[in-house]
Subunit: 301 residues, 2 copies
């Protein structure tokens, strides 16, 4: 059986309607990424608004994801500000039947490297579920070092590290990934996020892509991942380059989340205004520009 922390992991949105989880939309997103052939689903990632949801909402979403993912393994985001809240989320992920947990060092007060190590050590001792170390400085404002990656990778539960986007230059990306690989044992996979650099990251040796777009637009993500994993590096880059107008919108509109929510809403996969307030939806002009891009990319198939 393949290591579940390799290949393409799709991060579905957790759409809300009137501040309540829209379970039907969420199930629809899960079923559609399963049908598209993703390798795993990560429910309650940043794209799944985990940080905004209550413990009960998260338990329910984890359950829905597992129940509708069929044979596709489900990783569940368990991050929270307080260690005891993380452990409660681990419990509900385990009860739901998760295949692993994704854990970011969520911060309000800045955390030290020792704080973060102790958090992961505590979770690693608490559960037998494999752990994905989630390095997302854009949301957590915590900055990992390769030395901390190495310390964490020694913990028995740690199975994968989700790194931020890699450098745009292919050779620089290879050096970047190789430097992490050099300090992390073989059994711990390295997965890239930052969708715009995913092809580059996979070509540079990342074994997984933890993907925002795959949660809503799985087909092009499957294509990029297959090409890279089959050694067709230039095909992967070409497939990614075709999505450049989408990557540009991520930059222009302040990140991938609002753009992907707008796309899901536009395509009827989520109700209008599906993100938790205070995150405002994009406006009509922005949505019109997104529609033009998505239509031109032929992503409606």
């Amino acid at each position: 059986m393949a290591n579940i922390f390799t290949g393409l992991s799709a991060f579905p949105l957790t759409p809300l309607t009137d501040d309540v989880v829209d379970e039907q939309s969420f199930v629809g997103l899960v079923e559609s990424v399963v049908a598209a052939g993703v390798d795993s689903i990560t429910a309650l990632g940043s794209t799944g608004s985990y940080a905004y949801l209550t413990a009960d909402e998260r338990a329910r979403v984890a359950r829905l994801a597992v129940d509708h993912a069929g044979e596709v393994p489900v990783i569940v985001g368990v991050g929270a500000l307080r260690t005891s809240q993380v452990l409660a989320n681990v419990d509900s992920a385990q009860e739901a039947g998760a295949a692993g947990v994704l854990l970011a060092p969520v911060t309000y007060q800045p955390l030290t490297h020792d704080d973060v190590f102790e958090l992961f050590r505590t979770v690693s001792e608490y559960t037998d579920l494999p752990i994905v170390v989630y390095d997302n400085p854009g949301t957590t404002h915590f900055h990992f070092s390769n030395e901390l990656y190495a310390r964490l990778a020694e913990l028995p539960g740690v199975a994968s590290i989700k790194i931020p986007g890699v450098p745009g230059d292919a050779e620089a990306a290879r050096r970047h990934v190789a430097a992490i690989r050099a300090v992390v044992p073989e059994h711990v996979t390295i997965g890239v996020s930052g969708d715009a650099s995913a092809a580059n990251g996979l070509n540079a040796g990342c074994q997984a892509w933890y993907s925002v777009i795959a949660g809503t637009l799985p087909s092009p993500a499957v294509e990029i991942t297959r090409a890279a994993r089959q050694g067709r590096a230039s095909d992967a880059v070409a497939a990614s380059d075709r999505l450049a107008p989408l990557w540009d919108l991520f930059v222009e509109f302040g990140g991938s989340l609002r753009v992907m929510a707008a796309i899901a809403e536009e395509r009827g996969l989520a109700p209008r205004g599906c993100l938790p307030l205070p995150i405002q939806p994009l406006d009509d002009d922005q949505r019109a520009r997104i529609s033009v891009v998505v239509d031109a990319l032929g992503l409606d198939d």
Copy 2:
């Protein structure tokens, strides 16, 4: 009656014992700052670990603060990641008898200025309680502009703006505060935080000091505030300068929170390890250095 958003507001810790709020310690801190003559108490500020506590814990802490503050007005921190959670906290603050609420734009996903304006507008329409706009970029990573201050200050509920530390140079501090004052109507007070620059901020025209140290060491904060508010600018600066070894420890040990927790623990005002995990307590060497500083400052009286 004086505007309650002027003078010295003390931010007590919310000590935990084994991950449960230590109500006796919290009440002790509230009673001791009341006895020291602070002008208001802000419960559940950053120092009070609001972001880490559940809605129920926050409701209980708000109630305890009001019940033990006597005639001293209590402001309650209501910030949360999700607008609906903020409103729930406003409800519990109101039920507790709070005199006002403190609201920071807590982030996981980065927020736009429009997101933050709409958050404050929503809260302003929801409650009659006066609102303190809480600008704390070190924890929220959200950056206000003077233009946003001005927009928020037009909202009917907004009564005060808690700004970060001001420049160290007195004249630069005056220009800094004057620039904010110029765009904010008179009825909205400006309060300084960043304890090391509080004397400078008060001398520069801030009407309030939202103070971390006053939650645990109120006497020197009362002295600084009185001097500044009575126009004895150089006395205020001198009193602040005497605390320079403490300000240095804040910088060296990554902020005021862990230092103040260690001081409270050392003085028997809070149980050992009173901060929510994953925030680790300072180690024994660090505590020894803090004790030397506190003893030398004669703050044990």
